[in-house]
Subunit: 362 residues, 4 copies
């Protein structure tokens, strides 16, 4: 039994501490230390006490937080996944239950909800100065240049899963022009947080004309990043940029009103990916004309959550490439770095934040 400093919350009632907890991890096949751990809306929701589904591991009154991370392997027993001492790795967040999807490597598609998520539901997260894990849940990062941006692997794996689904559903009709290009197809991402930025980069990779929108202007840093990536921003409360409609709408806001606004301009065979959740978002109206619009155009609305091992792998690959393609710009997505004992970041959010991380070397 080891006592390790951890960032914890007595889920689901809310609160935040940096303190020692006792965890029996020392006999796990792999021992790790976090390099960076990222902070997202889920972490802040747990701290705020607004996420009812969060809960502590059995027998604990505290939940160690942290699902976005990049870690260093301190020691590892020999294993077929090739995880060795000194490796830099990203741990998988969701852990399988007993349903058919879980036992075949696709806990992201868990059928019965009986799975766990590190740092969220019944399993300690990665915001611990040291922890143990099994090698099958660790993804090796191929190069040291990923040590920083690798913390974006976990949020990006969600994007990769959503695009796996997009690839599947877009087989239902021809979506390119007659030369196989998507250059006249238009994707719109709702929201300007870190997930929205990652979705935008992926849309650019696919060749979509890509726009990103929010209900307020964005700062220069974000604008510069988008410029580099060939993504246009507009404030939808001021401007209209939906002349010819949308072929792909991706929502990261969780706001029904905004989703419906863009759904109503979605083109034939278009897809609307629902990703962002905000349980307290207010209701909006959906009427017969809206249903009609969806049907007559063969539009799909796609709920997509989490991602499987393969999506972590794809995320790592995309990050490595973007890291070169966009130069320092990808690193610039990490806007704030905090030390583990500065838990203020969990209760306030700098308007300039894209991604805040805990730097465990601090």
């Amino acid at each position: 039994m080891g006592r390790v400093y951890s960032i914890t919350s007595p889920a689901p009632k809310g609160g935040i501490s940096y303190k020692q907890i006792t965890v029996d991890y020392e006999n796990m096949p792999v021992i790790l230390k976090p390099i960076y751990t990222g902070i997202c809306g889920t972490d802040r929701g747990i701290v705020k006490g607004s996420l009812n589904f969060a809960y502590c591991p059995l027998g604990y009154g505290d939940l160690a937080l942290g699902h976005e991370s990049i870690c260093r392997v301190i020691s590892a027993k020999s294993n077929k996944y090739g995880i060795r001492s000194g490796d830099i790795v990203v741990p998988i967040v969701r852990r399988p239950g007993q349903c058919l999807n879980c036992i075949t490597g696709r806990s992201d598609n868990c059928s019965d909800g009986d799975k766990h998520e590190a740092g969220v539901t019944g399993m300690h997260g990665f915001m611990r100065e040291e922890f143990g894990d099994s090698p099958e849940y660790l993804l090796k990062v191929s190069s040291d240049t990923m040590k920083e941006v690798g913390v974006l692997t976990e949020p990006l794996k969600n994007v990769e899963k959503a695009f796996e689904v997009y690839d599947l559903v877009s087989r239902r009709s021809i979506s390119t022009d007659r030369f196989g290009s998507l250059s006249e197809k238009r994707a719109i991402i709702i929201g300007t947080g870190s997930e929205a930025f990652l979705y935008a980069l992926k849309c650019r990779d696919y060749g979509f004309q890509t726009l990103i929108t929010n209900r307020h202007p964005i700062d220069d840093l974000k604008m510069k990043f988008l410029d580099t990536a060939g993504v246009q921003f507009f404030d939808y409360t001021k401007e209209h940029r939906d002349e010819s409609g949308w072929d792909l709408v991706i929502d990261t806001s969780g706001d029904p009103g905004t989703i419906m606004r863009f759904l109503r301009k979605t083109n034939n065979n278009g897809n609307v990916i629902l990703f962002g959740t905000n349980g307290s978002a207010p209701a909006t109206g959906i009427d017969g004309q809206d249903i009609d619009h969806i049907i007559e155009r063969n539009i799909f609305l796609i709920g997509s959550v989490d991602g499987a091992r393969v999506h972590y792998e794809l995320a790592l690959k995309d990050l490595e490439r973007w890291n070169v393609q966009y130069g320092d710009k990808i690193k610039s997505l990490i806007t704030h770095r905090y030390s583990p004992d500065d838990t203020s970041v969990f209760t306030k959010k700098d308007p300039l934040e894209i991604k805040s991380v805990i730097d465990w070397s601090k």
Copy 2:
């Protein structure tokens, strides 16, 4: 130029006549006479003047109605589709435009809306005592036993297309039990019209526990039919039957409130097929919790309209089989027969109607 008695409406302003119109059809490669033509909500909508998208063929002040039909070939020039004089055929309703989906046989997935639909948008329908067509738009019925129920091919092709989409999207996760059975999965169909019945039969074929629901009780004839098919009915305003949730929801009502009611009980990896349209259906609320429900469960909402040649072919096959499997019961779906000059059926609907048809031999 031939003058033929037709059931017409001066679309989109509404109205109904049985009268002669002049159409240049005699040089078409195939000449046909309808046996039966079916009547659906779209026909009644045009007659009522409530469908703005309906319009007459260029140069005409009247639109011959009729998209559901089974016809006899009177004469046919030699053709590679094997259509010959004496054949019983079902004509395809939608005719391709110039988009990539249309020119590759999938006008049901038309990208730009630039297609035509017989009896609805810019093209005369099949409610004419005689008309001409091209063999590539005619589906041959393999046996005389289909002469009556074949009129259900057109509505059933919509179901087949929806299930093609279902087959595609259900590849995203494992949905059977560990023996490959769907016997514990539950499908619910909203609505009790003829399309709802056809969807229910298809769900049974897949092996789903199948329920059908509406906001009022149904008559004995319908109840008997459902019994035969192993489908349970319940009036959702009185009973609740959603203990364990739904794996497949199919809406034929177009009513957002009812859709949302069942969507909220849809299981992980579930699919909600939107098929029924009712442009004047009142709005209902969709809030952050609803969006959350869709995302956390990887739920898909699928708009599905029309069907391609392959779906007409599948519909013919299913009808032939059901015709045996359910004995006389499939024929019992055709509840009312009218003569062409009795246009009253377009303005009133018998509560006992499942499918009303015009019998062109009358």
Copy 3:
């Protein structure tokens, strides 16, 4: 422990007896009696002693034969699959092992070979006057009209699985004409046994121009059947019918020389389904030009074995429909009926045989 008359063979060394064996089946949840059991090349191969992979159940010196069957349920404990006393059912042949495909209902795609097949590998077959089984392996037949032809379900399920694969791989390119029809595409089936006939019917359902071929002429009964189904026969040793090449080749012969002959005339994006096995078939040459032909045309060669529960379900549906569509013709595929004690059918084959069955009422 019950002693039941069974048709047995001391696999793999060969031989045939009709005698009593002792099997502990009486406590199984479902007790069945066969109505018909079909005989195929595998049964004859076991009897001949030429199938090395066949073996007896653990502790037995005899293997009860029989994998093609239609049975009546004598008694059944209550079960969620709805199997009840009096039902007519088709038992599934292959039983799952522990690999990921097996435990998710797809033992037809077993990854490690660690499965069993009734009447073939380590599990008693259905040629017993009475036997027990579990309800999850029984498929209910919907109507009494299937009592006879239902014995073809097992061989047909192989065809259904092959076409599932065809559906998947044919998504790689457009294979229809611009109206969505396959009427100009040509399928050829090699062989004229019962499996070949079932493949031919399925090809017709898809809309292919369908030909069937062998290296000798066929008798009038077979010719008549093919006429009804719109399938052309030719003797490839005498005639050439491959002017424009093949889009789909299905081999039921297992003969490499014949496969290569037709592969060399396979069109762009064509598929060659390998189904028939004949371990003792002589070698033929495949050279660089053959490999080139396959590559330049994006041709697929597809090995397909067995089928899952869903394929049994589809087979039952197709049989029901064909039973009507082709009238008495489907029944005519069952050319010979034997009593259980007449084991001569296992050692000789009437040249007029399409399908021989054991009639357990005799």
Copy 4:
């Protein structure tokens, strides 16, 4: 009409010249100059006169060679594909005919063979000091670091197409372990040329244990490259490394004997991708046991040729990433550089060659 120095061959009779030819290209929307053009077996085959299918453009006695290239845009009319003067681009080789696959952006799956390939069949290639093209056939390279390795885009696009097909067919069964990993699955690539190396890198990206093999040892440079990528080499004439069989076999040799050797050790649900062509490769035997092996294991043999626009795009992305991941190693695949007037490279091949290119700045 412009006279431009070009590397030409009077196809199909063979021969090689560096000389001026007259081509009317000056009014094309985009004018380009090659930076590098790659040399492959097809080029050498044309020069040798051994490729019967090669032919000159209509009205020409010479064919300008060159299908692998990276070029600079000299001038460009405004276009929706965003191609501008100064851009570095890769031109697409195959140009569409009139079949349904060609007119929907998939000329790689051309149905009727009525397409053209630059530098091979009826269309001048890119080994000209200057040439014109249309923007829809040009792929923009995102960064200057790709100026050299970008010449591998064309050969790599073949790999990307083959893996698109792999992705499709591998949906037929579960191929990962229960954590979603391919780390215990084994891929083998036959051949040690540049295409083999590119296939090996792609297999590593998928997570396969990857081996590469040939019938002779390889030099240190190649060995070093493979080490970096975690790929093992073995000389199959000396060693056996097929203890547990192959899950994916990729042939780049076109030699039937070698293909059959590895096919016979292919595992259940395995795939054999046929890519390399060698029309003069000698025949080998395939017998009943081989057919049986393919069928009982649900093995697919997949002919895969060329690639579409999307595959060029994916190739560019993979090259960019590998360029970082493997450091200078990717550049080391380009082993030889020649000046345009040194045509000796077309008639002899250095044993150390991985990829030879013409450097048009020389």
